[in-house]
């Protein structure tokens, strides 16, 4: 157990160090521009799987949380000119509150009804923001980047590093939940909600907790996007593509362990970036769809399931 934790935190420190080193050594802007998107999807997928994977509540509202994160940052920049750290922290707080509200309203619904409710949420919030003049309304809003911190050569490099910090935060949170009594309770209620209740699991409270944590992380991941694009508009911030992509990444990676969504996000994220450069960004959606179908049919437990099966097969072969 202990050794496992040391290895984990060592790997996380190494990852951050590598990211920091990369910002100092690599001069070209493009790897940061592309890498940022992949890191962002890792955070979103890991956050999604806390509710969607551990608790089994399939959330189609990722775009709602992401968009709220974006617009929290936009609002703060316009109203107060708050620095990036404050934007992210506030977005996380707003996301937690939104998660709580959504949870209270929808978590009594189960299965597909919950999923439909989360789609509705996304549409409701997008419509509200579209009609909110102060943050630009439907036309969107331009955002001026402030001076970059001295440590970094460009703002995008800094955002890349910040998103890497969020990746570590998201993974550490998901890992903690997975290994603690919270994770055991979520698994129990995913397997059988009534049996869980009758074994003493406070199912509603645990689901709310998962929803709050998941929402906070998603909003935090969205907050730097405004600065990244220097522009925000409702139809891209609340694009349903975020929901679908994140869902696909988590399911393709596998939701039983925190590493699943990380693998899924890296695999799909890299594929998408390569396709966007070589063919066109439109083909992304097609590839996403085909991969999702392939995995649902051939490997319903995702990459994780495939790996586990391979390990078991080898162990069985040797015995």
């Amino acid at each position: 157990m202990k050794r496992n934790s040391i290895a984990f935190w060592g790997a996380m420190a190494l990852f951050l160090l590598a990211v920091l080193l990369m910002t100092q050594v690599v001069g070209n802007e493009y790897p940061f521009f592309a890498g940022y998107v992949i890191l962002q999807f890792i955070v979103l997928s890991v956050a999604w799987s806390i509710l969607g994977g551990y608790a089994g509540y399939v959330n189609f509202g990722t775009s709602a949380f992401f968009g709220v994160g974006v617009y929290t940052a936009v609002f703060l920049v316009k109203a107060t000119g708050a620095p990036l750290g404050v934007q992210i922290a506030t977005a996380a707080a707003v996301g937690a509150l939104l998660g709580l509200a959504v949870g209270l309203l929808t978590l009594r619904m189960q299965g597909i009804f919950f999923s439909i409710a989360t789609i509705a949420l996304s549409i409701v919030i997008e419509t509200s923001v579209t009609n909110w003049r102060y943050v630009g309304g439907a036309a969107g809003i331009q955002i001026q980047r402030p001076q970059v911190m001295e440590l970094f050569h460009s703002y995008v490099q800094m955002l890349f590093f910040v998103q890497a910090l969020l990746v570590v935060l998201a993974i550490a949170t998901a890992r903690y939940i997975q290994r603690s009594w919270i994770g055991r309770g979520l698994r129990a209620l995913r397997d059988d909600e009534l049996a869980a209740e009758c074994t003493g699991v406070p199912t509603l409270r645990l689901k709310l907790l998962a929803c709050v944590v998941s929402g906070a992380l998603m909003c935090a991941a969205g907050a730097p996007a405004a600065m990244y694009l220097q522009y925000a508009d409702p139809s891209s911030a609340f694009n349903l593509n975020y929901s679908v992509t994140v869902l696909a990444m988590s399911l393709i990676g596998g939701t039983a362990h925190w590493i699943g969504p990380v693998l899924g996000a890296i695999l799909l994220g890299v594929t998408q970036q390569l396709l966007a450069v070589t063919i066109s960004s439109e083909i992304n959606v097609l590839v996403l769809g085909v991969m999702l179908v392939l995995f649902v049919v051939a490997a319903p437990e995702g990459i994780l399931g495939l790996v586990r099966r391979a390990v078991r097969y080898r162990a069985g072969g040797e015995a």
């Binding site: 055991r184 129990a188 059988d192 009534l194 869980a196 209740e197 009758c198 074994t199 003493g200």
Partner: protein, 252 residues
Amino acid sequence: MTPPGDSEQALQPLLRIDAVTKRFGGFVALDNVSVDIRPGERLGLIGPNGSGKTTLINCISGALRAEAGSVVFLGEDITRLPPHIRTRRGIARSFQIPRPFKSMTVAENLMVALDFATVAGAFVPEAERRDTVMSVLTRTGLASKADISTTRLSQVELRKMELARAMATHPKLLISDEAMAGLSTSEVDEVLDLLLALAAQDITIIMIEHIMQAVMRFSQRVMCLDAGKIIAIGAPAEVMANRRVQEAYLGT
């Protein structure tokens, strides 16, 4: 040990069901049911299919809420409490169709109970928790299956696992919902012996069952439901001899 039978007047009931009524639409599943369950008692609950047995225990365990009447456990009104709080107060149950946590091993199923049903905040080292789980599994004859996925258990093992998981919540009242249905004669005896052993540890047990030999051997008192009403309650032999009970079962 509680002496069975006669001193009933002196004891405060463990569970008091007072005029409980439950409707599903126009169908009255429980109609003004009242009964006291004494501490340490072994109560057999019988009745034809659809007579309200499972509805009654759903109202006791909290899976359903009674529309009228009250459920009082150890002097506390628990009618409006959610199931997980009732479990923590000491009411555990098994399900008619076993509901294991499928993604977990047998031991992990019991760990859920240890994590959530016992005193919150008390830190217990992992090794000690494992010991507790293993001792419950040993008592239920499942020790050799501890680290096996519940999807690989047989029917009788699943029934025992359900009882073991319920036991891991340290209940004062255990409700067994047809834990023997569909089992072979020797398996019925295994489960019955298990329930009797649990009762010998001062756990009050309500046993729903259709297998009459089991009911007769187990119960100190038998209660028969028909169409949501108690039609007979008393000593097993008396209830079996009751004309209305025979009519309800034979449909004459």
